[in-house]
């Protein structure tokens, strides 16, 4: 089922300078797995809670399919919500936890006992916890608990699944396993799923589309490839993946660091100062004394070196006000702090600074 968020505004404190959510419009296609990604305080959890009906928006509407759900209470929205800290009922067994949503229904819509039990056991199988139905949540690991929470949410046959930092409280290894598992589960059950995360790897790896939020606004919505390769704004570029931002000047259709022109093409012609985002792998250390343009190359001073996985990283300072840059430094290339090396920029994205109005 499709989720449509229209002009959602949320203002907690009228005296605060900006709203928590500022005119959010979002379309989650039926069957899609969409990640809401953003730093803490960007409003992503608030948005999820508004969709679930756990928080009320200051303005705007939420639609499930064609139905306007804005006036519905949480209980009537039929959403599956999974919390970061599992929120399991500690006094109930796993089976009872999963069956809870069915047992609280009124007589008319409640399935018979045997049917409830059958459904609970089926869901236990689905989340790969068969045979543990009589255990209590306290007897499980974090990853297992979160799977129970998911099974419990699925038991009520929700129209949409909403996951709030579902793996936030788990350790790295378990997170990765659960991520793959969730993807498989989603492909199998086909629920429209919206999940909140601050972990970009999780969002990029798991989601069909990613919506990047910052300060109550959606900065960009797109596939993981679009988000990573073509960040729409400076914020997205800075937030997704690793990159360094250099202060550069655009004039005469070219970019300049100091008085040296760069070979990176410009997307727009307007002149002015701005920031050039460069990923570590998009810079190479050039040959000394040589330059394709025949002019002296752009030089930077090596500040420090460290190991990073299969490669080595170096932090360098460019001359003038351009700033510092982090680059991949091949292990084979000898570098010593204090040394000056020529840099060749292969790729980068320039964002013109909008002058303060």
């Amino acid at each position: 089922m499709q989720i449509r968020v229209v002009d959602i505004v949320k203002q907690f404190d009228p005296r605060a300078k900006g709203p928590v959510l500022d005119q959010i419009n979002l379309n989650v296609v039926g069957g899609e797995l969409l990640a809401l990604l953003g730093p803490s305080g960007s409003g992503k959890t608030t948005l999820l809670r508004i969709i679930a009906g756990l928080d009320q928006p200051t303005g705007g509407k939420v639609f499930f399919g064609e139905e306007d759900a804005s006036g519905l209470r949480v209980q009537e929205r039929r959403v599956g919500f999974v919390f970061q800290n599992y929120a399991l009922f500690k006094h109930l067994t796993l089976e009872e936890n999963i069956a809870f949503g069915l047992t609280v229904r009124d007589r008319a819509t409640r399935p018979p006992k045997a049917e409830i039990r059958r459904r609970a056991l089926e869901l236990l199988d689905l989340v790969q916890l068969s045979g543990l139905g009589k255990r209590y949540p306290a007897q499980l690991s974090g990853g297992q608990r979160q799977r129970v929470a998911l099974a419990r949410a699925l038991a009520v046959e929700p129209r949409v699944l909403l996951l709030d930092e579902p793996f936030g409280a788990l350790d790295a290894k378990v997170r990765r396993d659960l991520r793959l598992w969730l993807r498989e589960l989603h492909d199998r059950t086909g629920h429209t799923t919206l999940f909140v995360t601050h972990d970009q790897d999780e969002a990029l790896e798991l989601a069909d589309r990613v919506a990047v939020l910052s300060q109550g606004r959606i900065e960009q919505i797109g596939s993981p490839d679009e988000i990573y390769d073509h960040p729409a704004t400076a914020f997205v570029h800075g937030f997704i993946g690793e990159s360094s931002a250099l202060r550069v000047n655009a004039r005469e259709g070219r970019l300049f660091i100091g008085d040296r022109p760069l070979s990176i093409p410009l997307r727009e012609e307007r002149p002015g100062w701005g920031r050039l985002f460069i990923r570590p792998q998009d810079v190479v250390i050039g040959e000394k004394g040589l330059s394709e343009t025949g002019r002296p190359p752009i030089e930077a001073e090596v500040l420090s070196l460290w190991r990073s996985g299969p490669t080595r990283r170096a932090e360098l300072a460019l001359a003038g006000e351009a700033g510092r840059i982090e680059i991949d430094a091949p292990v084979a290339t000898p570098l010593t702090p204090g040394e000056k090396v020529p840099l060749h920029f292969k790729r980068g994205t320039f964002y013109l600074e909008t002058p303060a109005a």
């Binding site: 679930a52 009906g53 756990l54 949480v74 209980q75 929205r77 039929r78 959403v79 599956g80 919500f81 919390f83 800290n85 929120a87 399991l88 009922f89 500690k90 006094h91 809870f100 949503g101 609280v104 229904r105 209590y136 949540p137 306290a138 007897q139 929470a149 419990r152 949410a153 038991a155 009520v156």
Partner: protein, 276 residues
């Protein structure tokens, strides 16, 4: 010692020794003396006193009223704890402090104050007596005094547990379609049960031993409104030490078993749910 576990904190021997000495001196020694004294009667003598109608009546009133008062306190104490923990309102801190007053007030003072309130000429007793209800100087008066004395035990044990409750769990219940009442009954209340039991046990134990406030409010009529602690004092005044210690021993045994049962229920629930 084989049951000694390695720990970064030293002093197991010292603290265990201290615990044993302290418990022996403060609790076990007086209790042992009590049992020793009453054992001079022999089992037959103890049984004879235990089956005396006046003693039976006093024990029934003491334990019955303590259980009833603790039960009433569980309900209303839990509500008070809920209000104090969940809502912000002007005067909350003041109300919070008022709850502790029954702890601090000398029990005799409390008894006199309650008696003047509930007496047929008092503010509450007056209107009630026109309805034909009498509270002061009847067994009901005992109940009122014990409710007063026991209230803080429930509130103080339950309040922190309510404060610690996860808001997530209630919200999860709501997203699963549970109404507010279902959430309260099926999610919140079960997680309060261990704390309510502790509070109940404390209030009950306090009620059984209460003397000062009750004797001012109860009529102290033998067979009707005479509590066991009062009967003990009466026996002591008649220099009937054997009977006094026998009644005390009986109270001790009954209390011990009731508290033991409550403790067992608690440790069972703790094992099951992995929390207190």
């Amino acid at each position: 010692m084989s049951f000694r576990r390695p720990s970064i904190l030293p002093g197991f021997g010292l603290t265990l020794g201290y615990t044993l000495v302290y418990l022996t001196a403060i609790v076990l020694l007086p209790v042992a003396l009590l049992i020793l004294r009453s054992s001079s009667l022999g089992l037959d003598g103890l049984w004879a006193i235990a089956t005396e109608p006046r003693v039976l009546a006093a024990l029934r009133i003491s334990f019955g009223m303590s259980l009833a008062a603790a039960g009433i306190n569980v309900v209303f104490g839990a509500i008070i704890a809920w209000v104090l923990a969940r809502y912000e309102f002007p005067g909350r801190r003041l109300l919070d402090a008022v709850v502790d007053l029954p702890f601090a007030l000398p029990t005799a003072v409390a008894g006199i104050a309650l008696a003047s309130l509930y007496a047929p000429s008092g503010w509450i007793g007056g209107p009630l007596s026109t309805l034909g209800w009498r509270i002061a100087y009847t067994p009901l008066g005992i109940g009122v005094a014990l409710i007063f004395i026991g209230l803080p035990f429930i509130v103080r044990t339950v309040q922190p547990v309510i404060e610690e409750l996860d808001a997530d769990v209630e919200e999860a219940s709501a997203t699963l379609g549970a109404t507010r009442a279902q959430t309260l009954l099926r999610v919140i209340l079960p997680s309060l049960v261990p704390a309510l039991l502790t509070g109940f046990a404390l209030a009950f134990a306090r009620g059984v031993g209460e003397y000062g406030s009750v004797i001012f409010l109860a009529g102290n009529l033998p067979y009707v409104s005479e509590i066991a602690p009062l009967l003990i004092v009466v026996k002591l005044e008649q220099f009937d030490y054997a009977s006094a210690t026998a009644i005390a021993t009986l109270m001790l045994i009954v209390s011990f078993f009731i508290l033991l049962v409550i403790n067992l229920i608690q440790s069972w629930s703790r094992r099951r749910f992995g929390y207190v």
